[in-house]
Each structure stands twice: as C-alpha cells, then as structure tokens.
C-alpha cells in the first residue's frame, strides 16, 4: 500500500518557490518555455521530496496514453518475437510505449489482459495471437473490445478473429495449400500432419489448406493422418515419436509451424531417420532458425516483421466506419528438407 502522505505537485511548487503552473510545465514536459534556472529549482525540489509524477491523474486528464498493448500467445515463440520486431520498428520515433502481454493461450487470461490494457488507458491494442473457435470466449472478447473502441481506443487484429475490426490477414490457407501441393507433387502419399491447438483459427485455416491440396490432386484426405501438437517445439518432438510409436510410416511430415518442425527434426534424428532421404519434413512461418537447421527447412514464408509493421500502420490511421483488411501473401520456400519420395519406400 502507498503512504497516505503522497507528495503532490503543489508541494514541489511550494518548495521550489514557483507557481503551480511552472512546476507542472517542468514536471509534465510541456513545450511552453521555462527558464533553465526555474527548471533547475523545480527538478531539485522534486528530487528532494521524492516526488513521483502521477501518471494516473494525467491519464484521467488526457484519457489516453502512448501505450500500445500487444497480446501474444507465447512470448518465447519466435513467431511472435518477429511480429513484435515489426511493431517496434514501425513505432520507432513516435514515442510509442510497447507493452507485451503473454496469455500462454489461456482464454481467461486473455480477457484479463484486455481489461488491464483498457484500464491502463492504452491507445491501441494489437491482438497478435490467433483467433479462437470458441463462441463464448469470442463473445466476451467482443464485449471488451467494443467497450475499448467506444472509449476511443484502436484495435488491430492479426490473423482471422471473430471480431469486426481492422486486421492483417496472412494467407494461412493458401500457404498450406501451396506447401502440400509441393509435397504431393514429389510423389508423397503417406503424409502425416502435426497439427496446432484445435481451437485456433490459424490451425483451422492451415489444415483447411492441406485438405484443399489433397482435393486438388484428386486424393482422399484421411483426418487420421493428423497428430496433435500445440505449436511448441517440444510438442513437435513428442508428436513425431507418437506417430512412429503407433506404427505410422510417413514418407513426408507436414508440421503446421516451424517450431514443431524443428522439434520433429530432433525426434527423427534420435530415431536414426535421415531427412529427406528417409522422410521429408516441412514447416510453416519461416522463422530465422528454419534456414539454419540441417537440412534447412522447407517452409512457408509468412513475412512476420512486415505483418507487425502493417498492424501499426493500420493502428495509426484514424478509425474508419468499416473494417480494413490487409491481406498478406504466404510464399513457399523450398529448401533441402523436402525431397522426392524414394521409390524403394511404400
């Protein structure tokens, strides 16, 4: 708890022997001119009294701060690190204060962070984490975002969300479709897919793209080929082991993000399987490490920095009546981890 005896600006002004207005100009960084001597006196008095500028009173007065809140699912995931770098570089020099909130994919916590950012009078909320396929949750998110927007806040969504607002939409479905087409064109038929968290729209869209590629090739898609993952590296490793433990013999593995693909690579190595000679492996996102692993990972490049930048650009434009959607293409990047199906294998 705070001391009841909080030092106020009035105390500072009194100690410095200046008017309250002068003290305020100095302490609150107004651009009105104050002579260096007066400034010195005010700053000195504030220091002596251990005065802490009360941002809350300011926030109430100004109603908005320069805070941009970004909500991510996992701050340790390179996917979000790269988006955050884009958000930062777009905000450079604008005085933007970036606050990152990590839900760890907990729906309840996502709501708490939304409330927190609203309560802190953030100017902007960027929801960088994927949307959810959960009706009740989406309704609760919608209520909070509506309240935030009605109070003058700006909201930008990354990925497909069930909320009508400005959004940056990477082409998850198209990217997955093109990726799996490349896999099938190399003769692979026994394809295993490491999926993402089932309630995320990103998982849905990427899986949909996989299905479409099978249909394009006139092949039946067996949903039993999907093993569970949660977009973490560990889950990619575990899913790959589980796949072989249950007797699977895929000639190609499609992980719905690179982190899981890197985990899968570790598991395959442990099992003595060579990539791509024994089994091909592809990922999604093109995070920096994808090009470094051996063999380098075939993946879908999602321009994550760019997505962050576009999100901030949208946030800075004044709100419009309809929602603006920025589509971002996702391109397949062929690297060494994808090979032709060996003719000696089934």
């Amino acid at each position: 708890m705070r001391d009841a005896e909080t030092v106020t600006l009035v105390d500072v002004a009194r100690r410095a022997g200046v008017s309250l207005a002068t003290a305020s100009r100095v302490m609150n960084g107004s651009d009105r001119k104050v002579s260096p001597e007066l400034r010195e006196r005010v700053v000195g008095a504030a220091r002596e009294l251990r005065y802490v500028r009360n941002a809350n009173a300011q926030a109430l007065a100004k109603a908005r701060s320069a805070i941009v809140g970004v909500i991510v699912h996992d701050i340790g995931d390179p996917y979000f690190s790269e988006i955050l770098r884009g958000v930062e570089s777009a905000g450079e020099g604008t005085g933007q204060l970036l606050l990152v909130c990590d839900t760890h994919r907990d729906l309840e916590r996502e709501l708490e962070y939304l409330t927190l950012l609203h309560a802190h009078r953030a100017s902007t909320i960027v929801i960088a984490g994927s949307g959810h396929e959960d009706r009740a949750h989406n309704a609760a998110v919608g209520t909070r975002l509506d309240a935030f927007v009605n109070g003058g806040g700006r909201v930008v969504l990354i990925g497909r969300h069930h909320y009508a607002g400005d959004a940056v939409l990477p082409d998850n479905r198209g990217g997955a479709r093109a990726l799996v087409r490349e896999v099938l064109e190399r003769g692979h038929r026994a394809v295993a897919i490491i999926g993402g968290p089932p309630h995320l729209t990103t998982t849905h869209d990427r899986l949909d793209g996989c299905r479409l590629a099978f249909a394009d090739a006139g092949l039946a898609f067996d949903s039993a080929c999907v093993v569970d993952g949660d977009f973490s590296r560990e889950s990619g490793e575990a899913a790959t082991h589980a796949l072989y433990a249950r007797g699977g013999e895929p000639t190609a593995i499609v992980a719905l993000n690179d982190e899981m693909a890197v985990g899968a690579l570790t598991a395959l190595r442990e099992r003595g399987l060579r990539v791509p000679d024994d089994v091909s492996l592809v990922g999604f996102d093109d995070i920096p490490v994808a090009a470094d692993v051996t063999p380098a990972l075939t993946t879908v490049n999602v321009p994550l920095n760019h997505i962050g930048e576009v999100a901030m650009r949208l946030a800075r434009e004044p709100a419009s009546d309809g929602s603006r959607i920025e589509h971002v293409a996702a391109q397949v990047v062929i690297r060494a981890s994808l090979g032709k199906r060996s003719l000696l294998k089934p």
């Binding site: 705070r2 500028r53 390179p78 970036l98 909130c101 927190l116 309560a119 190595r269 470094d292």
Partner: protein, 341 residues
C-alpha cells in the same frame, strides 16, 4: 470488480456482478483505482530485445511463475536504448505496478547506473520490489550466473583440443555480461599462453545474429583465419554458424565454433552447438520467485551453469593434417604460427 485481496465473495454473486458489468461494458478504471492507492498484481519486466532467444527463454521462466501466482506480466521492450530503462521503472511506478524484474545486463556507465539507482530506489521506497538479472551495480535483489567462469571453461575446452588461433565475437562492450564473458575467455587464453588483447582478433558489436554473421565473415577473410571462433552469446554464434555455412566452411572440420547461453536452437543444429548452458528458463523463474519473496531482501541468488560439449568444436585441421599429412597443405605450415591481430 476491483479484484480485492479478499476473494471470499459468494461465487454466484461475483458471477452476477461480472455479467451485469459485461453487459454494460463496464471496465474498472485503473487510473481511478490507483488514485485511491491500490497496487496491481502485476509484474513489469524490462528487456532490451524480446526477439533475442536468450530473452525469450527468460521471459518464459518469469511467465510460468507469475501466472502460477496469479500475477499478470507486462513486458516493456527498450530496443537496447538502455537509458529508457530508468524511465520504464518510473512509469511502472506511476502505474502502481507491484513488482519489477530487469531482465537485461548491467551497463558499465555512471549515467545509467545513477538514473537506475534513483528510479529503483524510489520504486522500492514506495513499497514495490525490484529484482535484476545479472551483475548490476544496484542495491536490489539479483539473480547471478558466473559468466566469467562459464566463458573460461568454454575457452579452456577449445584450447585443450589444440586450438591456438582464436577469433572472438562480442556484443556491446559496455554491458557487464559482455565484460565478464570476455574476461573469462581472456583468462583462459592467458593460461594457455595466448594474449587476447595482442594476438586475438576481437570484434565487438551488438548481441545479435546479424553482428555474429558479419563478424564471422570478417574473421574468415583474414590472411590467417582463426581455427576457433568464440561467440560471447548463442545469438552471436548462431549468426556465425550461418556465415560459415554460407562460405562453404564446414563446422567443425574447417572451423570450430563455440557459443554461450545454450538456447533451444543450439541443440537443433547439426552439428549441434557447443556452448555453456545457462538455464535461462530457470533464471527467469528464480527472478520471479525472488520478486515474490520480500524476505529475500537484497540478496543475490546464484544459478549454476554447465558446459555443453556438443559437436561444433573439434581439433584444428592442422593437427589432423600433421598426423595424416594427406589433405589441405594450404594451412599445414601455419599449425604453429602465432595468431596475430
């Protein structure tokens, strides 16, 4: 609505109040709450680049403990503008954030240390609690790792393989993290009879992959390139790793490479990166626990490390050619040459 400490309300009543509030779009006004002097169950974390893998792991560690204790975690990224850090502490103070963790290396700079000491002192004097990670010249609780010894052990293991010609890639030289690791390498080489400051090319920059990449290129283009490269962080070593591959140099056959940190990508590479394991997840978790534990006072908590000898360090090529005399006469005569700047 305002999440008071006393949570013994009837859950049904709570539910009804929340529903009604949601319907009306009511949000408790944090600014108004704080004017009344309430603190938020929030930890403010300061980092210099959320994109660095080492920071990502530390943040995950902090998050695990924070969420477990029902604290929200907000992360401020200063993008390596370290003079923003005292301002962030002040801002968290103004926002009545309860705990602050500074997950960034100390900086050997009196302006920085002075401003931090003031901000941190005011924050704690007002009932908040601050924990720093690494060697900071601040009177607060801290999480320490022995960066000097870790770097010493790594360089010693490379010397033991027979390397005499080293290249060292560092980050920002003002950071205590960089200074400690560099002095560890310097001490190890001195024990092996090599004077780092005179005989070793040392390239300082930022703790990024980009710098690691550029510096490694520079090192390999020397007339007498090093047989062993030490990156003072894994991010630097990962950048170097890519540079070596891009130049068709085989690791460790042509060049040995060591990093420090042991981040997730280190194990995923093939060959896997030899590095020093600093357990960043644990460092983050310990930091948050220290923040939650006022009885710890201003003590330092030590987190141990171990050497992770993997596949990127092998005997230098010259030694092997000495034995077999078969390939690469190009560098044979350099086997015993003293590395020069």
């Amino acid at each position: 609505m305002n999440r008071t400490e006393n949570r013994a309300h009837d859950p049904a009543v709570r539910e009804r109040v929340m529903d009604a509030a949601l319907e009306l779009g009511y949000v408790p006004n944090a600014a108004a709450q704080r004017l009344r002097g309430r603190r938020n169950r929030t930890v403010g974390v300061i980092v210099r680049d959320v994109g660095l893998a080492a920071n990502a792991a530390v943040l995950r560690g902090i998050r695990e403990v924070a969420h477990g204790a029902n604290y929200l975690m907000v992360v401020a990224d200063t993008k390596r503008w370290c003079m923003d850090e005292p301002r962030w502490v002040q801002r968290f103070h103004e926002q009545r954030v309860e705990l602050v963790v500074i997950a960034a290396s100390g900086v050997d700079d009196t302006d920085y240390t002075g401003a931090m000491a003031e901000a941190v002192g005011a924050f704690e004097a007002d009932g908040g609690r601050v924990v720093v990670i690494g060697r900071h010249d601040l009177d607060v609780a801290s999480i320490r790792v022995d960066n000097v010894r870790g770097a010493y052990d790594l360089a010693t293991s490379m010397l033991a393989m027979g390397h005499r010609r080293f290249g060292v890639i560092g980050g920002n030289g003002k950071l205590t993290l960089n200074r400690d690791r560099l002095s560890g390498v310097r001490a190890a080489l001195a024990d092996g009879g090599i004077d780092l400051d005179r005989d070793v090319m040392y390239l300082e920059g930022a703790f990024t992959r980009e710098h690691g990449n550029a510096a490694a290129r520079h090192l390999t283009m020397q007339k007498k390139p090093p047989t062993a490269i030490v990156g003072l962080s894994d991010d630097l070593a990962l950048g170097a790793y890519r540079a070596l591959r891009e130049q068709n140099l085989a690791v460790p056959r042509d060049v040995s490479l060591g990093g420090i940190d042991d981040l997730a990508p280190a194990r995923a590479l093939q060959p896997a990166l030899t590095t020093v394991s600093y357990r960043h997840l644990e460092i983050g978790a310990r930091a948050m626990r220290a923040a939650l534990d006022p009885y710890l006072g201003h003590d330092a908590v030590e987190v141990h490390y171990e050497l992770a000898l993997r596949e990127t360090v092998a005997a230098p090529r010259e030694q092997r050619t000495h034995r077999s005399r078969s390939r690469s006469s190009r560098r044979t005569d350099e086997a015993c040459a003293t590395p020069r700047r």
